[in-house]
């Protein structure tokens, strides 16, 4: 396949960026989207040019590191799919593909398609855990958990922290990400003691990090590669309300 790529190039956070156009003539359908970028970079290095910087690691759709905004959609055209799991068989010969980084105030650009998502880490540090030190646990089967609850908690826990929800939201809200963690722990008995304080602290830091407000447009759920449900946001809103009334 022949593919034209329009890629956002930006040296670092301080300099302005611009689109550059590249022509690839020999793209195979079996390639992944990132393998196409490998080929582009190989080419650029040989031509004494600087390769495109982008984040990636597992290339299996699970680490959450890859993060490309492809033709106006976070992680590209396929639902439930990360950039690294997107394959070229979903594009056509002759296509032009526009590739940008995640854009959000809370995710400053580092270089080209790479952004800084450490704000997510700081939200988790504020309360996304159960306070249990190593060695203090009771036998794992001493607290049975109904399968439905465990399964729901799992669904929320499947979030890979990629940030597509933020990138795709017109307000750059992080509600889907934050509510996934809040929900996972709120659904399990282990999470109950800190349930209120957790949601309050996490929301407080989320706001302080510069993420926008949620206006219920639901774009995040559509673009989330792990299909995290909007239900989590509703659950978090309820918990947040209850936590504040309880004070």
């Amino acid at each position: 396949m022949k593919i034209t790529l329009k890629v956002w190039r930006q040296q670092n956070g301080k300099t302005p960026g611009e689109f550059k156009t590249y022509q690839l003539n020999d793209v195979s359908e079996d390639m992944s989207f990132l393998e196409m970028f490998d080929i582009l970079n190989d080419d650029l290095v040989r031509k004494q040019d600087e390769p495109v910087a982008f984040d990636h690691d597992c290339r299996e759709g699970i680490c959450g590191m890859c993060s490309m905004y492809i033709n106006g959609r976070a992680h590209g055209p396929m639902t439930g799919t990360t950039t690294c799991q997107l394959h070229m068989r979903h594009f056509k010969d002759g296509d032009t593909i526009v590739v940008e980084p995640w854009r959000a105030t809370a995710f400053p650009i580092i270089k080209d398609l790479m952004v800084d998502r450490s704000a997510f880490d700081r939200v988790i540090q504020a309360g996304g855990f159960v306070s249990v030190n190593t060695g203090n646990a009771v036998d794992a089967n001493s607290v049975p958990i109904p399968k439905q609850d465990a399964d729901k908690a799992f669904d929320a826990a499947a979030c890979i922290g990629c940030g597509a929800c933020v990138a795709t939201c017109k307000n750059a809200s992080a509600m889907l990400f934050v509510s996934a963690k809040v929900s996972q722990l709120a659904l399990l008995p282990q999470g109950q003691p800190e349930r209120h304080i957790r949601v309050k602290k996490m929301v407080e830091i989320m706001d302080a990090e510069g993420f926008g407000n949620c206006t219920n447009t639901g774009a995040c759920e559509v673009e989330c590669p792990k299909e995290i449900s909007l239900e989590n946001i509703a659950r978090m809103n309820r918990d947040y309300l209850v936590a504040n009334i309880a004070d």
Binding site: P51, G61, Q125, G128, Q184
Partner: protein, 638 residues
């Protein structure tokens, strides 16, 4: 050099309990002044950093990804073992111990493996307490599945995302300590050397991957938890950034390297589809619970799988190993697949694949059950290949997956450099010559939560008087200078070939001659080839851009330079071991029916290699393995 494994006295079942009770402690007031560096925040590193922080040590943790939540551990699919015996099928600590020693083909250290089996149960308790959503039965209790190489159900799992859930658990514990300022986290940092002062590991040199700055960090002790080096093969199931650099640098500074040639080739991976391929994807071994492996009975059969009638299919694992069938250990399953393909029975366009077929299970259990068990794996398969495994069998082939080799460590997990520890996949570990499925997660968390935080006390308790060493110490300066010189040398070559060019060449040589089967002749040839690749790399590599900013090509170049050196040591190691054991299959040493032929009289030892300098031959040291609690027998899964 005399290797002392520091195995405590006493009966195997009492060693750890007694040792824990007598190990010197560091009191809380002193812990506050002791700094520990943890490099790597996968399961082993995140668990260790979190636990050390909880205990009151001042911890600095490092990882090269943008967040500790993304370590390679996240990709583990199948599960984690523990001797809980919740399935009431006769499991016990002793049985897990025995299975691990046998599965490793009797090349691991009894005392360490027994301790691993002992602490395994506490891991599950800890993870559940953190909110890890393991799979449950309708009664609300935890569910188990079975895995290759054993006959009990002791594997805990969280759909096909066990590693993710365990790592997020460890990450949450780590995040809590970062929030409490017990742990200082340095993401997007790559360790490039260890600093040794008066014979003890006292810090590291790291590169800030965003600014390119070379930084010095002091610690009273340094813990490495940097994962495996399977990417020496270029194509592997490891994440793209997985590397050998931290342990290789430690090796060059004096830490012995244990069993470098012991690598695991996993039998069930998606086959290579073309030259563009950047990595291989694992299909969890758990699939072998319900999938049957076969090839056509006829060579070069070009019919579609569904068109080949039952009686013309060769379920070769069930045929050769009736007792374990499709659940034989990985090394055996991998070699059997290679044997069939080499003999011309392979399937698919490349003919380098075998079928993994779920039609029987779907008929027996229904599509729903299979979907609940493996849904996400089937999805991954379909995304990559464009084929639907519910209606046609998967095509699979072995791929590099795990490295049993790593830094040699004693019972305390300390390397031969005092104060330098290695945990998780980066030590030579508990898996001997072959690791059983679902045991790496167990080992990583055992090391990180329950072993290292205790054993490190032995060293640190003697160090409570030592004040933090300022990083303008000459040894820090020297180490930093060497790192900077290496980087500028690399950048100034300005050759014609990108880094991947050399990495691919290296991978091909190691796969061909030091992969699933090895021979003295092939290894000798490979050694020369690797030396040539090294010379070529340092003449012709092209690293674009600048060193003082984000530069992924430079990161790769630094890693590949180390992989090339490691490749040579792997070859030396494979050449020196004149026997077949576990994943190490030497063509010269096999039984009449093609099984690995061990030589316990001459090779029941751990190979521990000492670095002697550039272009010098490394020196082999041996830790004799003493088996007092299991009898060495030829492994049989028939």
């Amino acid at each position: 050099m005399k290797l002392d494994a520091k195995i405590p006295e006493g009966a195997i079942a009492d060693k750890w309990t007694k040792y824990k009770a007598t190990i010197p402690l560091v009191n809380p007031a002193n812990k506050r002044h002791i700094e520990v560096i943890v490099v790597g925040t996968g399961l082993a590193g995140a668990a260790a950093a979190a636990t050390l922080g909880e205990m009151g040590y001042k911890v600095k943790a490092f990882c090269f990804q943008d967040s500790p939540r993304r370590a390679h551990s996240i990709a583990a699919q199948g599960g984690i073992n523990a001797a809980k015996n919740y399935s009431n099928d006769g499991d016990s600590v002793h049985r897990l111990f025995y299975d691990t020693i046998k599965g490793g083909d009797y090349r691991s250290r009894e005392a360490n493996v027994h301790r691993l089996a002992e602490v395994s149960t506490a891991i599950i308790d800890q993870c559940v307490a953190q909110g890890v959503p393991f799979a449950r039965e309708y009664g609300g209790l935890l569910d188990n599945r079975s895995f290759g190489g054993v006959q009990v159900s002791r594997t805990f799992y969280a759909r096909g995302q066990t590693g993710q859930q365990l790592l997020l658990g460890a990450y949450s514990a780590l995040s809590r300590q970062i929030g409490r300022k017990q742990v200082d986290m340095f993401s997007r940092h790559e360790m490039l050397d260890v600093v040794i002062i008066d014979g003890k590991a006292r810090g590291i040199i790291a590169r800030n991957l965003v600014t390119g700055e070379i930084e010095r960090h002091f610690g009273h002790a340094v813990v490495l938890a940097t994962g495996g080096y399977g990417n020496v093969f270029f194509l592997s199931t490891n994440a793209m950034g997985s590397n050998v650099t931290s342990i290789w640098k430690a090796h060059k500074k004096g830490a012995l390297f244990g069993n470098p040639c012991f690598t695991q080739i996993h039998p069930t991976c998606i086959p290579v589809s073309g030259d563009h391929q950047s990595k291989l994807t694992l299909m969890s071994e758990s699939l072998r619970n319900d999938g049957r492996i076969w090839v056509p009975k006829k060579q070069n059969d070009t019919r579609k799988a569904v068109d080949i009638p039952e009686e013309e299919r060769d379920y070769y694992l069930e045929r050769r190993y009736p007792a374990f069938g499709n659940l034989v250990p990985r090394d055996i399953a991998s070699r059997a697949a290679k044997e069939r393909c080499d003999a011309g029975y392979g399937v698919g366009t490349s003919k380098m694949a075998v079928y993994l077929d779920f039609s029987d299970s779907i008929n027996r259990l229904g599509k729903k059950v299979i979907e609940a068990r493996y849904g996400n794996l089937f999805e991954i398969y379909e995304k990559i290949t464009g084929e639907d495994p519910y209606t046609m069998p998967m095509r699979i082939y072995p791929a590099v997956h795990y490295t049993m080799g790593g830094l040699w460590v004693d019972y305390n997990l300390m390397t031969t450099i005092p104060g330098l520890y290695a945990t998780g996949e980066c030590n030579f570990s508990d898996h001997g010559a072959n690791r059983l499925g679902a045991s790496a997660l167990m080992q990583g968390l055992a090391d990180g939560y329950f072993v290292l935080p205790i054993t490190i006390g032995e060293f640190l308790s003697k160090d409570i008087q030592t004040k933090a060493i300022p990083t303008d110490h000459p040894e820090f300066e020297k180490a930093e200078r060497e790192v900077k010189e290496k980087i500028s040398r690399m950048m100034s070559i300005n050759g014609t070939q990108p880094v991947d060019h050399f990495h691919k060449q290296l991978g091909k040589v190691i796969w061909e001659y030091c992969g699933m089967s090895r021979s003295a002749e092939g290894l000798q040839k490979a050694k020369k080839m690797v030396q040539e690749i090294r010379a070529d790399f340092w003449k012709n590599v092209r690293v674009p851009g600048k060193a003082d900013g984000m530069n992924p090509e430079l990161e790769k170049a630094l890693r590949v330079a180390d992989f090339i050196e490691l490749g040579e040591l792997m070859i030396d190691d494979a050449y020196s071991r004149n026997e077949s054991c576990g994943g190490h299959f030497r063509e010269e040493y096999q039984t009449e029916d093609g099984e690995a032929l061990r030589d316990d009289n001459n090779y029941a030892y751990v190979s521990a290699w000492e670095y002697k300098g550039e272009n010098e031959q490394s020196v082999l040291h041996k830790e004799e393995l003493i088996f007092e609690n299991v009898k060495l027998v030829q492994r049989s899964y028939k």
